[in-house]
């Protein structure tokens, strides 16, 4: 028998300890304020009466120290500007997102092998986010696409840049890019069109509505974050 440790740190990007300590201290459940309100309530809309409620504003936050496990190589790959997937030596399925063990029931959880993937793929399905996560709200309207990287049997969800949202369609060929200064997470990866996009069929009403939606979304972004 052997002990697995101690762990060796090979490389590290440290977090700002002071920033987190401050956040963590404040995120500790203690009410930072309160309000008393009155509203009608009851178990059905035929049975309402006025009630008073006290509401406290109670913060709570955490910092996780998360391991990417045996698929860590995908993320270290991003830090080196490379795209990796895994391949099952038994059935040949190629995964990106990678799996350390093949999920083909016939392969009895065979261990997979790493393969470098081309930075090319195709849109399998897509959307245009008019509400994205708060950290990405300035990028709205934001195209999200399920990308099948060439040679893989899966789709990797990623956002698209340098494309008119109106023109994204299923089947569009894309180039895949990794941020110049990668942080080691999926947001480092994005796609751009590799060909002139052919828009999906839309009725004139649908097209008009789509364009109005995009205008409204862009106007909101401009108002909230200023001109780009």
């Amino acid at each position: 028998m052997k002990q697995p440790g101690p762990e060796k740190v090979i490389k590290e990007q440290k977090i700002d300890e002071k920033w987190w300590k401050d956040w963590e201290r404040r995120g500790g459940w203690r009410p930072e304020g309160w309000k008393i309100i009155e509203i009608n309530d009851g178990p059905t809309l035929n049975d309402l009466k006025p009630e008073k409620f006290l509401i406290v504003h109670r913060p709570h936050g955490n910092l996780f120290h998360h391991s990417y496990g045996k698929v860590s190589k995908f993320f270290t790959g991003l830090l080196e500007g490379k795209l990796y997937g895994t391949k099952c030596p038994k059935c040949g399925l190629v995964y990106c997102p990678p799996r350390a063990h093949c999920f083909n029931p016939k392969c009895r959880l065979a261990e997979t092998q790493w393969v470098e993937l081309p930075k090319k793929g195709e849109v399998h399905a897509h959307t245009v986010m008019a509400i994205a996560w708060p950290s990405m709200a300035h990028l709205q309207p934001l195209v999200g696409a399920m990308i099948r990287i060439d040679g893989t049997n899966t789709c990797l969800p990623m956002t698209m840049r340098d494309v008119d949202p109106e023109k994204v369609n299923i089947g569009l060929r894309v180039n895949i890019h990794i941020e110049k200064q990668p942080k080691g997470d999926l947001l480092d990866v994005y796609a751009t069109p590799a060909e002139e996009p052919k828009p999906p069929k839309r009725t004139p009403e649908e097209l008009k509505r789509f364009r109005e939606d995009m205008e409204k979304t862009r106007a909101w972004v401009k108002k909230t974050f200023g001109a780009k």
């Binding site: 399905a125 897509h126 996560w133 934001l142 399920m146 969800p157 997470d185």
Partner: protein
């Protein structure tokens, strides 16, 4: 011992956002209604009589509490009673009902009280979205920049591309659900928006969330509670002269990540008749069913429930349906996955008026998730309660809206699922 499980009573404490009332208080409101309906039922007798409780809530984050069910159990005066919590994302409440039914069938418990609730107003909406989205894979889905809305939206984009569904179809589903909710005194939509009918144009006027989905085509985050008292055949007949039976239960699953579905060997060959339905203009993936167009977990759960209930032809035998519809397109996908039509033809049932309130197969009579509301742990329990009230002819009494009561109905089907269809459950109710 028969495998029949009876619904003795069901109740809802209304959906709204915010409710401000505590989880345990909403649960108490719901359980009180059950006690009113079943005067013989004594909470103090549960241990002596060997009854159990099954609790359903989704998110420890939204509740700001782990093991919330211990609080509920205690608050209801049920300390000492055997109790369990079930959690499986959006499938939580249907899963709780299925578990309770199976415990009764096992002969272990003569009766199980199922109570479900959710609290969703205490975080800002983006954080609520986040709490829901981390039911997606936090290494590969959630951190890709996609919201949960976006994942469902990509799946609907695929349905539009492969089957030719339109934005108008989605808006029509939303209109159906919202207008169905207007006389439902437990529904969130009328509580917040009043009692007037809406039209397709009103749906178009609601803001775009993630193309093709607009606000009114997405579930409303809610707070509320609901309860069901289930019992074996003998006890059910003793406690009520108007029983409805859970004659079939089923559940199924699919990949955690929707993106892993196109070439999944686990699905290949499972439903060959569905694999053949594929248009020429789209290159078929290795496992064309379900791909991202349909929800395979729904299919597995529905066929299991039909088999369990002895339903041979669901389209002819089932009289009303409640589909778990976090997004409008799921109604159309569901109709296909539940064998009410062939894949790709869900839109036809909609366009032909089949699923309208007095059509051949009324769907979403409660208003479902987009209008009754989606207080996750309570959602499917409330949908089962609504169908139970329909089948037991109680809509007049429970809704105060006798005109909404259907007549000559024998069998209802209710489905629930979690994630992007990662897990699903279904039950068949019979008079």
């Amino acid at each position: 011992m028969t495998k029949k499980v009876g619904i003795v009573a069901g109740s809802i404490s209304r959906f709204d956002n915010p409710r401000h009332t505590l989880q345990e208080e909403m649960c108490a409101e719901a359980v009180r209604m059950i006690l009113d309906d079943v005067p013989e039922l004594e909470l103090g007798d549960f241990v002596k009589k060997g009854y159990a409780c099954c609790y359903s809530y989704f998110s420890d984050i939204l509740e700001q509490q782990q093991c919330m069910h211990w609080i509920i159990n205690d608050y209801l005066g049920l300390s000492a009673v055997p109790c369990f919590r079930v959690e499986s994302g959006g499938a939580t409440p249907i899963d709780a009902i299925i578990n309770a039914a199976l415990w009764i069938r096992s002969g272990m418990f003569p009766a199980v009280l199922v109570v479900g609730w959710e609290k969703m107003d205490e975080l800002p909406i983006q954080k609520v979205n986040e709490a829901i989205a981390i039911a997606g894979d936090t290494d590969w889905d959630f951190v890709s920049g996609f919201t949960y809305n976006a994942f469902y939206a990509t799946m609907e984009a695929r349905r539009m591309h492969v089957y030719g569904e339109t934005e108008e179809d989605l808006a029509e589903v939303a209109v159906l659900c919202h207008n169905n909710s207007l006389e439902n005194p437990y529904a969130q939509w009328p509580a917040q928006h009043g009692f007037s009918k809406i039209m397709v144009e009103d749906v178009y006027k609601s803001r775009l969330i993630s193309w093709p989905y607009r606000l009114h085509e997405c579930a409303m985050t809610s707070e509320g509670a609901s309860a069901l008292f289930l019992a074996n055949e003998e006890l059910t007949k003793k406690l009520t002269d108007n029983p409805i039976w859970i004659t079939g239960v089923g559940f199924g699953s699919d990949t955690m990540r929707a993106g892993d579905r196109p070439d999944n060997p686990a699905w290949k060959g499972l439903y060959p008749e569905d694999e053949k339905i594929w248009p020429k203009h789209v290159p078929p993936p290795m496992s064309p069913y379900p791909d991202l167009c349909n929800f395979g977990a729904l299919r597995v759960s529905a066929r299991m429930a039909y088999k369990d209930a002895g339903v041979k032809n669901p389209r002819k035998e089932i009289n009303l349906v409640e589909i778990f519809d976090p997004y409008a397109g799921v109604v159309l996908a569901g109709l296909e996955d539940f064998d009410f039509c062939k894949r790709g033809e869900g839109k036809k049932l909609l366009r032909d008026g089949v699923i309208q309130p007095f059509g051949e197969l009324p769907c979403q009579l409660s208003g479902a998730l987009t209008a009754q509301g989606h207080a996750v742990g309570s959602t499917s329990i409330a949908q089962v309660v609504d169908v139970y009230w329909q089948l037991s002819n109680q809509i007049g009494k429970k809704w105060g809206a006798p005109s909404r009561q259907l007549s000559n109905i024998k069998k209802g089907f209710i489905h629930g699922h979690g994630g992007t269809g990662c897990q699903a459950g279904a039950v068949v109710l019979e008079v």
